[in-house]
Symmetry: C2
Subunit: 267 residues, 2 copies
């Protein structure tokens, strides 16, 4: 049985649907305060981080052998007065990890699950369709200038990866217009859409951090990303093949085609 630990957003619902389609047994545990979408009427365990140890025990009792962390869990807080007995021994590790940033928190939770004997699997393992094959499936196609912009964006993201910063970058005409930080992709695109004095056109690149554990917290794009890129005046979106989840492929491509943007799944 697979335990699907659900954070915020659409990914948990997509993975639950993929599990159902495959006929494999699974159990959804939803973290309070980080509402997942698309779980519909499925029975879910709801848990608090303060009871993580108890949840872990229950999942093991129910026969869980694998676990998948899906959805965003940004800056959770721990109320020490609510920590239960089974979670107490885990608190120092979780607390230290939270101070290290979002990636650190996820790594700590993954390590705790692994030590309990669970195998951690990635969203791409459960729903391979979320990882798009290399190529440009849109009507609009990138040109030579976009190739240069993609190289520059990739270099910026690579430089920042050791600092656990940056899964997105906007480049136009060789100039870096924006670098994604904590407020995220949608915020970055909206800031650009509000107006700036840089060149028009260009692209958004999304890629996982170099060396990132691809079993959890892969960057994702959705229809909103396409709309945001269009509003920011960009020509297209580049995602790293195998490293970025496309949360609704058909809708993403339809949106990109209707707005004349390219989507480039780059090796």
């Amino acid at each position: 049985m697979l335990a699907l630990i659900a954070g915020q957003g659409r990914l948990p619902g997509l993975l639950a649907a993929a599990m159902e389609d495959s006929g494999r047994a699974f159990r959804v545990a939803e973290l309070e305060g980080f509402p997942a979408e698309g779980l519909g009427g499925r029975p879910t365990l709801r848990f608090r981080l303060e009871h993580l140890g108890t949840l872990l025990g229950r999942l093991l009792d129910e026969g869980a052998r694998e676990v998948c962390l899906a959805g965003a869990i940004r800056r959770p807080v721990i109320d020490m007065s609510e920590v239960d007995a089974a979670t107490g021994p885990l608190v120092p590790r979780i607390a230290e990890a939270l101070r290290a940033g979002d990636d650190g928190a996820l790594r700590a939770v993954v390590a705790i699950f692994e030590e309990a004997g669970l195998r951690v699997v990635g969203a791409g393992d459960i729903a391979p369709g979320l990882l798009m094959p290399e190529g440009v499936p849109t009507r609009a196609q990138p040109d030579a200038r976009h190739e240069g912009d993609a190289q520059r964006a990739a270099a910026v993201l690579a430089a920042l990866a050791p600092l656990d910063v940056g899964q997105g970058c906007v480049v136009s005409g060789g100039q870096v217009l924006a670098i994604e930080a904590l407020p995220g992709t949608d915020w970055m695109l909206a800031s650009l859409a509000a107006g700036h004095d840089g060149p028009k056109g260009g692209l958004l690149m999304k890629a996982p951090k170099a060396g990132q554990d691809r079993r959890f917290d892969l960057p994702a794009i959705g229809v909103d990303t396409v709309r945001g890129a269009a509003a920011a005046g960009l020509d297209g979106i580049v995602i790293e093949a195998g490293g970025v989840l496309a949360l609704n492929r058909e809708a993403i491509l339809a949106e990109a085609d209707s707005r004349g943007l390219f989507l480039w799944v780059r090796p």
Copy 2:
């Protein structure tokens, strides 16, 4: 005689005033399309980039021995049909440099001046008062958390320096909220002020790029920077000692004190 090549902003006016105070001979040449402030009624040569060669000849004829580039010259364009005879031989270098970004363009212009026998001097040489001494001259003082934020911001800027990106970074509680790109510091702060879901507080760090030629294009702060940082909800501003120009020290400190922000001139 010193030739002051003026781009946009307040720096050219401040340097012209400093030259007048010192009694040394100087000549201002203002690039069209990049209006300098505070030059008042001083006689200035106005020039276009297409006539750079002619300007250079004239400055040499007038006895120029030194040159200082001051003020922002962002993304200038060259109209090939307007290039004059003396500038024609320089165009390939300028054009290639423009493609390399703002720093590249400045480096090319500096190299052209140097090859003509002019010594390039920095704004800090002309007006040492623009470089503030180490310390925290405001009433508000940074705490241990701000020290951590400053270290993280410095690490981000150092990672990006080889890519000719980033002279500013906002960090709060160890989280990177924003990284300055082409649209500049004021734009970055205004974007944060418009709202984001990251932590409050934190600081703006401004520093020159590692390895940057400190004779031109040093980052600068002014009263607007303090206002922008306050509007973005930050606790203070950190500038690298010797590497960031303070365009009006008294006004900056008064503004910071009135808004409760610290200004930290960090070694």
